[in-house]
Protein backbone atom coordinates (compact mmCIF):
# COMPACT_ATOMS: atom_id res chain seq x y z
CA UNK A 1 0.00 0.00 0.00
CA UNK A 2 1.21 3.49 -0.77
CA UNK A 3 1.03 5.96 2.06
CA UNK A 4 -0.92 9.02 0.87
CA UNK A 5 1.22 12.05 1.66
CA UNK A 6 1.43 15.75 0.96
CA UNK A 7 2.71 15.27 -2.58
CA UNK A 8 -0.37 13.34 -3.66
CA UNK A 9 -2.58 16.21 -2.58
CA UNK A 10 -0.36 18.73 -4.29
CA UNK A 11 -0.48 16.77 -7.54
CA UNK A 12 -4.26 16.69 -7.41
CA UNK A 13 -4.49 20.38 -6.68
CA UNK A 14 -2.05 21.29 -9.45
CA UNK A 15 -4.02 19.17 -11.91
CA UNK A 16 -7.24 20.92 -10.87
CA UNK A 17 -5.54 24.30 -11.21
CA UNK A 18 -4.27 23.49 -14.70
CA UNK A 19 -7.70 22.26 -15.77
CA UNK A 20 -9.20 25.48 -14.47
CA UNK A 21 -6.76 27.59 -16.43
CA UNK A 22 -7.39 25.44 -19.51
CA UNK A 23 -11.13 25.96 -19.17
CA UNK A 24 -10.73 29.74 -18.78
CA UNK A 25 -8.49 29.98 -21.83
CA UNK A 26 -10.32 27.71 -24.25
CA UNK A 27 -14.03 27.83 -23.39
CA UNK A 28 -16.29 30.26 -25.22
CA UNK A 29 -19.33 29.88 -23.01
CA UNK A 30 -19.30 32.32 -20.07
CA UNK A 31 -20.71 29.70 -17.71
CA UNK A 32 -17.94 27.25 -18.58
CA UNK A 33 -15.32 29.92 -17.97
CA UNK A 34 -16.81 30.53 -14.54
CA UNK A 35 -16.67 26.80 -13.85
CA UNK A 36 -12.95 27.00 -14.56
CA UNK A 37 -12.64 29.74 -11.95
CA UNK A 38 -14.39 27.53 -9.41
CA UNK A 39 -11.87 24.77 -10.16
CA UNK A 40 -9.00 27.16 -9.43
CA UNK A 41 -10.51 28.25 -6.13
CA UNK A 42 -11.02 24.66 -5.05
CA UNK A 43 -7.51 23.65 -6.03
CA UNK A 44 -6.20 26.39 -3.74
CA UNK A 45 -8.47 25.07 -1.01
CA UNK A 46 -7.00 21.58 -1.35
CA UNK A 47 -3.55 23.16 -0.99
CA UNK A 48 -4.50 25.01 2.17
CA UNK A 49 -5.99 21.96 3.84
CA UNK A 50 -3.14 19.68 2.78
CA UNK A 51 -0.47 22.06 4.02
CA UNK A 52 -2.24 22.52 7.33
CA UNK A 53 -2.70 18.78 7.78
CA UNK A 54 0.83 17.71 6.89
CA UNK A 55 2.79 20.73 8.06
CA UNK A 56 1.21 21.21 11.50
CA UNK A 57 0.74 24.88 10.75
CA UNK A 58 -2.18 25.62 13.04
CA UNK A 59 -5.64 26.73 12.05
CA UNK A 60 -5.02 29.47 9.51
CA UNK A 61 -5.26 27.12 6.54
CA UNK A 62 -8.63 25.75 7.63
CA UNK A 63 -9.83 29.26 8.27
CA UNK A 64 -8.81 30.39 4.81
CA UNK A 65 -10.46 27.39 3.16
CA UNK A 66 -13.73 28.10 4.96
CA UNK A 67 -13.66 31.74 3.90
CA UNK A 68 -12.89 30.77 0.31
CA UNK A 69 -15.87 28.42 0.15
CA UNK A 70 -18.18 31.25 1.20
CA UNK A 71 -16.50 33.67 -1.20
CA UNK A 72 -16.80 31.25 -4.10
CA UNK A 73 -20.53 31.06 -3.51
CA UNK A 74 -20.84 34.85 -3.43
CA UNK A 75 -18.79 35.21 -6.57
CA UNK A 76 -20.83 32.58 -8.40
CA UNK A 77 -24.06 34.35 -7.45
CA UNK A 78 -22.84 37.70 -8.77
CA UNK A 79 -21.31 36.17 -11.89
CA UNK A 80 -24.51 34.30 -12.77
CA UNK A 81 -26.54 37.49 -12.29
CA UNK A 82 -24.23 39.32 -14.67
CA UNK A 83 -24.35 36.51 -17.24
CA UNK A 84 -28.16 36.46 -17.00
CA UNK A 85 -28.22 40.18 -17.66
CA UNK A 86 -25.99 39.70 -20.70
CA UNK A 87 -28.33 37.00 -21.96
CA UNK A 88 -31.31 39.33 -21.56
CA UNK A 89 -29.70 42.16 -23.53
CA UNK A 90 -27.78 40.21 -26.19
CA UNK A 91 -29.44 36.73 -26.21
CA UNK A 92 -26.06 35.02 -26.09
CA UNK A 93 -23.58 33.93 -23.46
CA UNK A 94 -20.77 33.32 -25.93
CA UNK A 95 -17.89 35.53 -24.86
CA UNK A 96 -16.60 35.96 -28.40
CA UNK A 97 -19.88 37.50 -29.53
CA UNK A 98 -19.87 40.07 -26.71
CA UNK A 99 -17.40 42.36 -28.40
CA UNK A 100 -18.81 45.83 -28.92
CA UNK A 101 -15.97 47.27 -26.82
CA UNK A 102 -12.65 46.81 -28.56
CA UNK A 103 -9.78 48.68 -30.15
Amino acid sequence: MIEVGLNHFLVVSTLLFSMGIYAIVTRKNAIQVLMGVELILNSANINFIAFTRFGNFGLQGHLMALFVIVLAAAEAAIALAIVLNIYKTLSTVNIDEVDSLKD
Binding site: S13, F17, G20, I21, I24, A30, V33, L34, G36, V37, I40, L41, S43, A44, N45, N47, F48, F51, G55, F57, G58, L59, Q60, G61, L63, M64, F67, V68, L71, A74, E75, I78, A79, A81, I82, V83, N85, I86, K88, T89, L90, I95, V98, D99, S100, L101, K102, D103
Partner: protein, 502 residues
Protein backbone atom coordinates in the same frame (compact mmCIF):
# COMPACT_ATOMS: atom_id res chain seq x y z
CA UNK B 1 -0.28 27.98 16.91
CA UNK B 2 -2.85 30.74 16.92
CA UNK B 3 -5.66 30.73 19.41
CA UNK B 4 -8.35 33.17 18.50
CA UNK B 5 -8.95 34.73 21.87
CA UNK B 6 -9.02 38.49 21.85
CA UNK B 7 -8.55 39.86 25.34
CA UNK B 8 -9.16 43.53 24.68
CA UNK B 9 -12.07 43.54 22.28
CA UNK B 10 -13.28 47.06 22.99
CA UNK B 11 -9.84 48.49 22.30
CA UNK B 12 -9.70 46.63 19.01
CA UNK B 13 -13.17 47.76 18.03
CA UNK B 14 -12.12 51.32 18.73
CA UNK B 15 -9.26 50.85 16.31
CA UNK B 16 -11.65 50.07 13.47
CA UNK B 17 -14.08 52.92 14.17
CA UNK B 18 -13.73 54.27 10.60
CA UNK B 19 -14.74 50.93 9.14
CA UNK B 20 -17.59 50.60 11.62
CA UNK B 21 -18.95 54.02 10.78
CA UNK B 22 -18.78 53.16 7.07
CA UNK B 23 -20.67 49.92 7.70
CA UNK B 24 -23.31 51.75 9.70
CA UNK B 25 -23.71 54.27 6.87
CA UNK B 26 -24.18 51.37 4.48
CA UNK B 27 -26.91 49.88 6.67
CA UNK B 28 -28.52 53.30 7.06
CA UNK B 29 -28.64 53.71 3.28
CA UNK B 30 -30.19 50.29 2.71
CA UNK B 31 -32.82 50.88 5.41
CA UNK B 32 -33.61 54.43 4.25
CA UNK B 33 -33.97 53.13 0.71
CA UNK B 34 -36.44 50.49 1.87
CA UNK B 35 -38.51 52.69 4.16
CA UNK B 36 -38.67 56.05 2.39
CA UNK B 37 -39.14 54.91 -1.19
CA UNK B 38 -40.17 58.37 -2.37
CA UNK B 39 -37.21 60.43 -1.15
CA UNK B 40 -34.24 59.00 -3.01
CA UNK B 41 -32.55 62.37 -3.20
CA UNK B 42 -31.46 62.11 0.43
CA UNK B 43 -29.33 59.01 -0.23
CA UNK B 44 -26.22 60.87 -1.47
CA UNK B 45 -26.61 63.23 1.50
CA UNK B 46 -26.55 60.31 3.95
CA UNK B 47 -23.45 58.89 2.28
CA UNK B 48 -21.70 62.26 2.39
CA UNK B 49 -22.45 62.62 6.10
CA UNK B 50 -21.20 59.10 6.77
CA UNK B 51 -18.04 59.75 4.80
CA UNK B 52 -17.32 62.98 6.66
CA UNK B 53 -17.76 61.25 10.02
CA UNK B 54 -15.38 58.52 8.84
CA UNK B 55 -12.97 61.21 7.69
CA UNK B 56 -12.74 62.65 11.19
CA UNK B 57 -12.13 59.19 12.68
CA UNK B 58 -9.29 58.58 10.22
CA UNK B 59 -7.75 61.98 11.03
CA UNK B 60 -7.75 60.99 14.70
CA UNK B 61 -5.88 57.80 13.82
CA UNK B 62 -3.12 59.70 12.04
CA UNK B 63 0.05 59.75 14.11
CA UNK B 64 -1.06 57.00 16.46
CA UNK B 65 0.31 53.78 14.97
CA UNK B 66 -0.84 50.51 16.52
CA UNK B 67 -1.77 46.93 15.77
CA UNK B 68 -5.36 45.87 15.94
CA UNK B 69 -6.74 42.38 16.46
CA UNK B 70 -3.31 41.20 17.52
CA UNK B 71 -2.90 37.74 18.98
CA UNK B 72 0.52 38.52 20.35
CA UNK B 73 3.06 41.21 19.52
CA UNK B 74 2.99 41.97 15.82
CA UNK B 75 0.91 38.92 14.93
CA UNK B 76 -2.05 41.04 14.02
CA UNK B 77 -4.68 41.24 11.33
CA UNK B 78 -4.54 44.99 10.91
CA UNK B 79 -1.72 47.44 11.31
CA UNK B 80 -2.99 50.99 11.57
CA UNK B 81 -0.09 53.28 10.77
CA UNK B 82 0.30 56.64 9.09
CA UNK B 83 0.74 54.91 5.76
CA UNK B 84 -2.68 53.29 5.90
CA UNK B 85 -4.25 56.47 7.29
CA UNK B 86 -2.84 58.43 4.35
CA UNK B 87 -4.31 56.02 1.82
CA UNK B 88 -7.60 55.97 3.72
CA UNK B 89 -7.79 59.75 3.40
CA UNK B 90 -7.08 59.53 -0.34
CA UNK B 91 -9.83 56.94 -0.74
CA UNK B 92 -12.29 59.00 1.29
CA UNK B 93 -11.64 62.17 -0.71
CA UNK B 94 -12.13 60.21 -3.92
CA UNK B 95 -15.36 58.72 -2.66
CA UNK B 96 -16.71 62.12 -1.65
CA UNK B 97 -16.02 63.38 -5.15
CA UNK B 98 -17.59 60.30 -6.71
CA UNK B 99 -20.78 60.80 -4.71
CA UNK B 100 -20.88 64.40 -5.92
CA UNK B 101 -20.22 63.19 -9.49
CA UNK B 102 -23.03 60.68 -9.28
CA UNK B 103 -25.56 63.33 -8.26
CA UNK B 104 -25.23 64.96 -11.69
CA UNK B 105 -24.47 61.86 -13.74
CA UNK B 106 -27.07 61.13 -16.35
CA UNK B 107 -26.23 57.43 -16.46
CA UNK B 108 -26.79 57.01 -12.74
CA UNK B 109 -29.92 59.16 -12.76
CA UNK B 110 -31.41 57.08 -15.58
CA UNK B 111 -32.29 54.37 -13.03
CA UNK B 112 -33.72 56.41 -10.16
CA UNK B 113 -35.26 53.46 -8.33
CA UNK B 114 -31.90 51.73 -7.84
CA UNK B 115 -30.04 54.60 -6.18
CA UNK B 116 -30.10 52.80 -2.83
CA UNK B 117 -28.07 49.88 -4.10
CA UNK B 118 -25.73 52.22 -5.99
CA UNK B 119 -24.61 54.12 -2.90
CA UNK B 120 -24.65 50.97 -0.76
CA UNK B 121 -22.31 49.21 -3.18
CA UNK B 122 -20.00 52.21 -3.34
CA UNK B 123 -19.72 52.13 0.44
CA UNK B 124 -19.13 48.40 0.26
CA UNK B 125 -16.20 49.07 -2.03
CA UNK B 126 -14.86 51.66 0.40
CA UNK B 127 -15.02 49.22 3.32
CA UNK B 128 -13.10 46.68 1.25
CA UNK B 129 -10.45 49.25 0.38
CA UNK B 130 -10.13 50.37 4.02
CA UNK B 131 -9.35 46.85 5.16
CA UNK B 132 -7.06 46.36 2.19
CA UNK B 133 -4.79 49.30 2.97
CA UNK B 134 -4.24 48.23 6.56
CA UNK B 135 -4.36 44.45 6.14
CA UNK B 136 -1.44 42.66 7.72
CA UNK B 137 -2.46 39.12 6.96
CA UNK B 138 -2.82 37.28 3.67
CA UNK B 139 -6.30 36.08 4.65
CA UNK B 140 -7.49 39.62 5.19
CA UNK B 141 -5.75 40.87 2.06
CA UNK B 142 -7.55 38.30 -0.07
CA UNK B 143 -10.94 38.78 1.58
CA UNK B 144 -10.91 42.57 1.41
CA UNK B 145 -9.71 42.46 -2.20
CA UNK B 146 -12.69 40.27 -3.02
CA UNK B 147 -15.08 42.56 -1.13
CA UNK B 148 -13.82 45.42 -3.28
CA UNK B 149 -13.99 43.39 -6.49
CA UNK B 150 -17.45 41.91 -5.98
CA UNK B 151 -19.01 45.32 -5.41
CA UNK B 152 -17.21 46.84 -8.36
CA UNK B 153 -18.29 44.03 -10.73
CA UNK B 154 -21.89 44.99 -10.06
CA UNK B 155 -21.30 48.73 -10.26
CA UNK B 156 -19.52 48.43 -13.63
CA UNK B 157 -22.79 47.12 -15.07
CA UNK B 158 -25.05 49.44 -13.14
CA UNK B 159 -27.28 50.50 -16.06
CA UNK B 160 -28.67 47.07 -16.84
CA UNK B 161 -30.33 48.05 -20.10
CA UNK B 162 -27.17 49.48 -21.61
CA UNK B 163 -25.26 46.93 -23.69
CA UNK B 164 -21.99 48.72 -23.00
CA UNK B 165 -22.45 48.49 -19.23
CA UNK B 166 -23.41 44.81 -19.27
CA UNK B 167 -20.45 43.92 -21.44
CA UNK B 168 -18.07 45.84 -19.19
CA UNK B 169 -19.25 44.02 -16.10
CA UNK B 170 -19.05 40.61 -17.84
CA UNK B 171 -15.48 41.23 -18.93
CA UNK B 172 -14.59 42.62 -15.53
CA UNK B 173 -15.89 39.63 -13.62
CA UNK B 174 -14.27 37.07 -15.93
CA UNK B 175 -10.82 38.64 -15.82
CA UNK B 176 -11.21 39.59 -12.16
CA UNK B 177 -12.30 36.23 -10.84
CA UNK B 178 -9.63 34.43 -12.87
CA UNK B 179 -6.83 36.64 -11.58
CA UNK B 180 -8.04 36.56 -7.98
CA UNK B 181 -8.21 32.76 -8.23
CA UNK B 182 -4.62 32.67 -9.45
CA UNK B 183 -3.66 34.98 -6.59
CA UNK B 184 -5.33 32.63 -4.11
CA UNK B 185 -3.32 29.70 -5.48
CA UNK B 186 -0.15 31.77 -5.05
CA UNK B 187 -1.13 32.57 -1.47
CA UNK B 188 -1.66 28.88 -0.78
CA UNK B 189 1.85 28.09 -2.05
CA UNK B 190 3.36 30.90 0.02
CA UNK B 191 1.46 29.52 3.00
CA UNK B 192 2.93 26.11 2.27
CA UNK B 193 6.46 27.52 2.09
CA UNK B 194 6.25 29.59 5.25
CA UNK B 195 3.54 28.01 7.35
CA UNK B 196 1.83 31.25 8.20
CA UNK B 197 -0.41 33.86 6.67
CA UNK B 198 0.81 36.74 8.79
CA UNK B 199 3.16 39.02 6.85
CA UNK B 200 5.56 39.56 9.77
CA UNK B 201 5.74 35.87 10.52
CA UNK B 202 6.33 34.99 6.86
CA UNK B 203 9.17 37.51 6.89
CA UNK B 204 10.90 36.01 9.89
CA UNK B 205 10.56 32.49 8.50
CA UNK B 206 11.86 33.44 5.07
CA UNK B 207 14.95 35.08 6.56
CA UNK B 208 16.56 31.64 6.81
CA UNK B 209 16.72 30.78 3.12
CA UNK B 210 15.24 27.31 3.01
CA UNK B 211 12.60 27.77 0.36
CA UNK B 212 13.01 26.49 -3.16
CA UNK B 213 13.67 29.49 -5.38
CA UNK B 214 11.46 28.37 -8.26
CA UNK B 215 8.48 27.63 -6.01
CA UNK B 216 8.96 30.97 -4.36
CA UNK B 217 9.11 32.85 -7.67
CA UNK B 218 5.98 31.06 -8.88
CA UNK B 219 3.98 32.00 -5.81
CA UNK B 220 5.14 35.62 -5.90
CA UNK B 221 4.27 36.01 -9.57
CA UNK B 222 0.85 34.49 -8.94
CA UNK B 223 0.17 36.91 -6.09
CA UNK B 224 1.35 39.75 -8.31
CA UNK B 225 -1.25 38.68 -10.86
CA UNK B 226 -4.00 39.47 -8.37
CA UNK B 227 -2.57 42.76 -7.13
CA UNK B 228 -1.40 43.77 -10.61
CA UNK B 229 -4.93 43.24 -11.87
CA UNK B 230 -6.21 45.84 -9.41
CA UNK B 231 -3.59 48.42 -10.37
CA UNK B 232 -3.70 47.39 -14.07
CA UNK B 233 -0.06 46.54 -14.64
CA UNK B 234 0.80 45.06 -18.03
CA UNK B 235 0.37 42.02 -18.60
CA UNK B 236 -2.64 41.97 -16.26
CA UNK B 237 -4.29 45.00 -17.84
CA UNK B 238 -6.58 43.43 -20.46
CA UNK B 239 -9.77 44.38 -18.66
CA UNK B 240 -8.85 48.04 -18.17
CA UNK B 241 -9.72 49.67 -21.53
CA UNK B 242 -12.93 47.69 -22.01
CA UNK B 243 -14.23 48.18 -18.48
CA UNK B 244 -13.26 51.84 -18.32
CA UNK B 245 -14.99 52.52 -21.62
CA UNK B 246 -18.10 50.53 -20.82
CA UNK B 247 -18.80 51.38 -17.18
CA UNK B 248 -20.69 54.52 -16.08
CA UNK B 249 -18.22 57.42 -16.01
CA UNK B 250 -18.52 58.01 -12.28
CA UNK B 251 -17.59 54.37 -11.66
CA UNK B 252 -14.75 54.54 -14.17
CA UNK B 253 -13.31 57.50 -12.28
CA UNK B 254 -13.69 55.61 -9.01
CA UNK B 255 -11.94 52.52 -10.34
CA UNK B 256 -9.12 54.52 -11.86
CA UNK B 257 -8.27 56.31 -8.62
CA UNK B 258 -9.57 54.63 -5.48
CA UNK B 259 -9.19 50.96 -6.26
CA UNK B 260 -5.79 51.68 -7.78
CA UNK B 261 -4.78 53.42 -4.53
CA UNK B 262 -5.86 50.41 -2.49
CA UNK B 263 -3.98 48.09 -4.82
CA UNK B 264 -0.79 50.12 -4.48
CA UNK B 265 -1.11 50.19 -0.71
CA UNK B 266 -1.37 46.41 -0.62
CA UNK B 267 1.53 46.01 -3.03
CA UNK B 268 3.82 48.26 -1.00
CA UNK B 269 2.94 46.74 2.36
CA UNK B 270 3.24 43.21 0.99
CA UNK B 271 6.65 43.94 -0.55
CA UNK B 272 8.11 45.84 2.36
CA UNK B 273 6.81 43.88 5.34
CA UNK B 274 7.16 40.44 3.81
CA UNK B 275 10.36 40.62 1.81
CA UNK B 276 12.53 43.37 3.30
CA UNK B 277 15.11 42.43 5.91
CA UNK B 278 15.98 45.91 7.05
CA UNK B 279 17.47 49.15 5.85
CA UNK B 280 20.99 49.53 4.55
CA UNK B 281 23.21 52.52 5.30
CA UNK B 282 21.73 54.90 2.75
CA UNK B 283 18.11 54.06 3.55
CA UNK B 284 17.31 51.50 0.86
CA UNK B 285 15.38 48.39 1.77
CA UNK B 286 17.44 45.24 1.88
CA UNK B 287 15.27 42.65 0.21
CA UNK B 288 15.43 38.91 0.70
CA UNK B 289 17.76 37.56 -1.95
CA UNK B 290 15.47 34.97 -3.56
CA UNK B 291 14.77 37.13 -6.60
CA UNK B 292 16.14 40.35 -8.03
CA UNK B 293 13.21 42.43 -6.83
CA UNK B 294 14.31 45.71 -8.34
CA UNK B 295 14.75 44.17 -11.79
CA UNK B 296 11.33 42.53 -11.56
CA UNK B 297 9.56 45.75 -10.57
CA UNK B 298 11.45 47.90 -13.06
CA UNK B 299 10.64 45.60 -15.96
CA UNK B 300 6.97 45.53 -14.98
CA UNK B 301 6.83 49.30 -14.78
CA UNK B 302 8.72 50.04 -18.00
CA UNK B 303 6.57 47.61 -19.99
CA UNK B 304 3.46 49.08 -18.39
CA UNK B 305 4.14 52.73 -19.12
CA UNK B 306 5.47 52.15 -22.61
CA UNK B 307 2.50 50.02 -23.54
CA UNK B 308 0.01 52.41 -21.95
CA UNK B 309 1.40 55.47 -23.65
CA UNK B 310 1.75 53.94 -27.10
CA UNK B 311 -1.66 52.25 -27.05
CA UNK B 312 -3.26 55.55 -26.06
CA UNK B 313 -1.96 57.20 -29.23
CA UNK B 314 -4.50 55.41 -31.44
CA UNK B 315 -7.60 55.87 -29.34
CA UNK B 316 -10.55 57.86 -30.64
CA UNK B 317 -12.69 57.47 -27.56
CA UNK B 318 -11.74 59.82 -24.75
CA UNK B 319 -12.70 57.36 -21.98
CA UNK B 320 -10.64 54.63 -23.60
CA UNK B 321 -7.72 57.02 -24.00
CA UNK B 322 -7.92 57.93 -20.32
CA UNK B 323 -7.95 54.20 -19.53
CA UNK B 324 -4.67 53.69 -21.34
CA UNK B 325 -3.29 56.84 -19.75
CA UNK B 326 -4.18 55.43 -16.33
CA UNK B 327 -2.24 52.27 -17.25
CA UNK B 328 0.73 54.49 -18.08
CA UNK B 329 0.39 56.31 -14.75
CA UNK B 330 0.38 52.95 -12.95
CA UNK B 331 3.73 52.39 -14.64
CA UNK B 332 5.14 55.68 -13.32
CA UNK B 333 3.88 54.90 -9.82
CA UNK B 334 5.41 51.44 -10.03
CA UNK B 335 8.78 53.08 -10.71
CA UNK B 336 8.51 54.85 -7.37
CA UNK B 337 7.95 51.49 -5.70
CA UNK B 338 10.86 49.97 -7.66
CA UNK B 339 13.32 52.40 -6.07
CA UNK B 340 12.80 50.32 -2.92
CA UNK B 341 13.43 53.14 -0.49
CA UNK B 342 11.41 55.47 1.70
CA UNK B 343 12.20 58.31 -0.68
CA UNK B 344 10.63 56.40 -3.55
CA UNK B 345 7.64 55.67 -1.37
CA UNK B 346 7.25 59.36 -0.62
CA UNK B 347 7.30 60.09 -4.35
CA UNK B 348 4.53 57.53 -4.83
CA UNK B 349 2.40 59.16 -2.14
CA UNK B 350 2.90 62.66 -3.56
CA UNK B 351 2.24 61.47 -7.10
CA UNK B 352 -0.91 59.65 -6.05
CA UNK B 353 -2.43 62.58 -4.18
CA UNK B 354 -1.94 64.73 -7.27
CA UNK B 355 -3.09 62.01 -9.67
CA UNK B 356 -6.33 61.85 -7.67
CA UNK B 357 -7.33 65.43 -8.48
CA UNK B 358 -6.20 65.57 -12.09
CA UNK B 359 -7.66 62.24 -13.12
CA UNK B 360 -10.97 62.81 -11.35
CA UNK B 361 -11.11 66.25 -12.92
CA UNK B 362 -10.60 64.92 -16.45
CA UNK B 363 -13.32 62.32 -15.94
CA UNK B 364 -15.67 64.94 -14.46
CA UNK B 365 -15.43 67.20 -17.48
CA UNK B 366 -15.88 64.22 -19.81
CA UNK B 367 -18.95 63.25 -17.82
CA UNK B 368 -20.50 66.73 -17.94
CA UNK B 369 -19.99 66.89 -21.70
CA UNK B 370 -21.21 63.33 -22.24
CA UNK B 371 -24.38 64.13 -20.28
CA UNK B 372 -25.24 66.58 -23.05
CA UNK B 373 -23.85 65.15 -26.27
CA UNK B 374 -24.03 61.44 -25.31
CA UNK B 375 -20.63 60.69 -26.74
CA UNK B 376 -17.01 60.52 -25.71
CA UNK B 377 -15.55 60.35 -29.20
CA UNK B 378 -12.79 62.90 -29.75
CA UNK B 379 -14.33 63.74 -33.15
CA UNK B 380 -17.46 64.97 -31.40
CA UNK B 381 -15.35 67.35 -29.30
CA UNK B 382 -14.45 69.44 -32.35
CA UNK B 383 -14.85 73.12 -31.66
CA UNK B 384 -16.28 72.52 -28.18
CA UNK B 385 -13.65 74.81 -26.70
CA UNK B 386 -15.46 77.82 -28.13
CA UNK B 387 -19.01 76.93 -27.21
CA UNK B 388 -17.98 75.72 -23.74
CA UNK B 389 -15.03 77.91 -22.75
CA UNK B 390 -15.12 77.02 -19.04
CA UNK B 391 -15.25 73.24 -19.45
CA UNK B 392 -12.74 73.38 -22.29
CA UNK B 393 -10.22 75.31 -20.21
CA UNK B 394 -10.78 73.00 -17.24
CA UNK B 395 -10.17 69.91 -19.37
CA UNK B 396 -7.09 71.61 -20.77
CA UNK B 397 -5.68 72.19 -17.30
CA UNK B 398 -6.31 68.60 -16.24
CA UNK B 399 -4.78 67.13 -19.39
CA UNK B 400 -1.70 69.37 -19.17
CA UNK B 401 -1.32 68.29 -15.57
CA UNK B 402 -1.64 64.62 -16.55
CA UNK B 403 1.18 65.19 -19.03
CA UNK B 404 3.28 66.65 -16.24
CA UNK B 405 4.04 70.15 -17.49
CA UNK B 406 4.68 73.07 -15.13
CA UNK B 407 3.04 75.05 -13.53
CA UNK B 408 0.47 72.35 -12.83
CA UNK B 409 0.64 69.83 -10.00
CA UNK B 410 1.38 66.93 -12.33
CA UNK B 411 4.86 68.38 -12.80
CA UNK B 412 5.57 68.23 -9.06
CA UNK B 413 4.52 64.59 -8.92
CA UNK B 414 6.83 63.67 -11.78
CA UNK B 415 9.61 65.84 -10.34
CA UNK B 416 9.70 63.99 -7.04
CA UNK B 417 9.56 60.67 -8.87
CA UNK B 418 12.54 61.58 -11.04
CA UNK B 419 14.51 62.92 -8.07
CA UNK B 420 14.00 59.59 -6.30
CA UNK B 421 15.12 57.71 -9.43
CA UNK B 422 18.22 59.82 -9.96
CA UNK B 423 19.19 59.58 -6.28
CA UNK B 424 19.03 55.81 -6.58
CA UNK B 425 21.34 55.93 -9.63
CA UNK B 426 18.62 54.67 -11.96
CA UNK B 427 19.43 57.19 -14.67
CA UNK B 428 18.54 54.95 -17.62
CA UNK B 429 15.14 54.22 -16.17
CA UNK B 430 14.56 57.92 -15.52
CA UNK B 431 15.37 58.70 -19.14
CA UNK B 432 12.95 56.04 -20.40
CA UNK B 433 10.24 57.52 -18.16
CA UNK B 434 11.00 60.99 -19.47
CA UNK B 435 10.73 59.84 -23.09
CA UNK B 436 7.42 58.22 -22.21
CA UNK B 437 6.18 61.56 -20.90
CA UNK B 438 7.04 63.11 -24.25
CA UNK B 439 4.99 60.45 -26.04
CA UNK B 440 2.05 61.08 -23.72
CA UNK B 441 2.07 64.77 -24.64
CA UNK B 442 0.86 63.87 -28.13
CA UNK B 443 -2.37 62.17 -27.17
CA UNK B 444 -3.30 64.63 -24.44
CA UNK B 445 -2.75 67.61 -26.70
CA UNK B 446 -4.69 65.93 -29.51
CA UNK B 447 -7.87 66.39 -27.48
CA UNK B 448 -7.10 70.07 -26.93
CA UNK B 449 -6.40 70.48 -30.65
CA UNK B 450 -9.81 69.03 -31.49
CA UNK B 451 -11.47 71.32 -28.95
CA UNK B 452 -9.77 74.58 -29.76
CA UNK B 453 -8.28 74.45 -33.27
CA UNK B 454 -10.83 72.42 -35.28
CA UNK B 455 -13.72 74.50 -36.53
CA UNK B 456 -17.29 73.36 -36.55
CA UNK B 457 -20.71 74.89 -37.13
CA UNK B 458 -22.67 73.16 -34.43
CA UNK B 459 -23.25 74.94 -31.17
CA UNK B 460 -23.48 73.07 -27.90
CA UNK B 461 -24.85 74.61 -24.73
CA UNK B 462 -24.62 73.08 -21.30
CA UNK B 463 -26.39 74.56 -18.31
CA UNK B 464 -24.20 73.90 -15.31
CA UNK B 465 -25.77 73.82 -11.88
CA UNK B 466 -24.08 75.57 -8.92
CA UNK B 467 -23.02 72.13 -7.65
CA UNK B 468 -21.14 71.50 -10.91
CA UNK B 469 -19.26 74.79 -10.53
CA UNK B 470 -18.32 73.97 -6.94
CA UNK B 471 -17.05 70.48 -7.77
CA UNK B 472 -15.11 71.80 -10.75
CA UNK B 473 -13.53 74.48 -8.59
CA UNK B 474 -12.65 71.96 -5.86
CA UNK B 475 -10.86 69.88 -8.48
CA UNK B 476 -9.08 72.67 -10.36
CA UNK B 477 -7.85 74.53 -7.28
CA UNK B 478 -5.62 71.72 -5.93
CA UNK B 479 -4.20 71.03 -9.40
CA UNK B 480 -3.13 74.67 -9.74
CA UNK B 481 -2.19 75.37 -6.11
CA UNK B 482 -0.17 72.19 -5.58
CA UNK B 483 1.79 73.11 -8.67
CA UNK B 484 3.38 76.08 -6.90
CA UNK B 485 2.83 75.47 -3.18
CA UNK B 486 3.47 71.82 -2.50
CA UNK B 487 5.45 71.83 0.77
CA UNK B 488 2.54 70.83 3.04
CA UNK B 489 1.69 67.85 0.87
CA UNK B 490 5.31 66.73 0.76
CA UNK B 491 5.58 67.06 4.53
CA UNK B 492 2.49 64.95 5.10
CA UNK B 493 3.81 62.35 2.65
CA UNK B 494 7.13 62.29 4.49
CA UNK B 495 5.34 61.53 7.74
CA UNK B 496 3.28 58.81 6.11
CA UNK B 497 5.99 56.58 4.66
CA UNK B 498 6.64 54.74 7.91
CA UNK B 499 5.07 51.31 7.94
CA UNK B 500 4.39 49.73 11.28
CA UNK B 501 6.72 46.93 12.32
CA UNK B 502 9.60 47.83 10.13
Amino acid sequence: MITLILPNLSENLQAILPEISLALTLVAIVLFDLIFIKSKKFLPLISIIGLIVTFSFVILQFGDPKYAFAVSGNLSFLSLDNFSAFFKLLILITTLFIVLFSMSSQEVNSCPDRHGEYYALILGMVIGMFFMVSANDLILIYLSLELLSLSSYVLAGFVKTSIRNSEASLKYIIYGSASSGIMLFGISILYGISGSTNLHEINSILQSPTANQLTFLMSILMIFAGIGFKISIVPFHFWTPDVYEGAPISITAFLSVASKAAGFAVLIRFLKITFAQGLDKSGYWQMLSYIDWQMLLISFSIITMTFGNFAALWQDNLKRMLAYSSIAHAGYLMLGVAVLSDQGLMAVLVYFSIYLFMNLGAFYVVMLIANKINSEEIDDYKGLGYSLPLLGTALGIFLVSLTGLPPTAGFIGKLYLFIALVDANMITVAIIALLNTVVSLYYYIRVLKAMFLDKTDKKVEINLSPLNYIVLLLLIAPVLILGVYFTPLVNIAKESVQLLGF
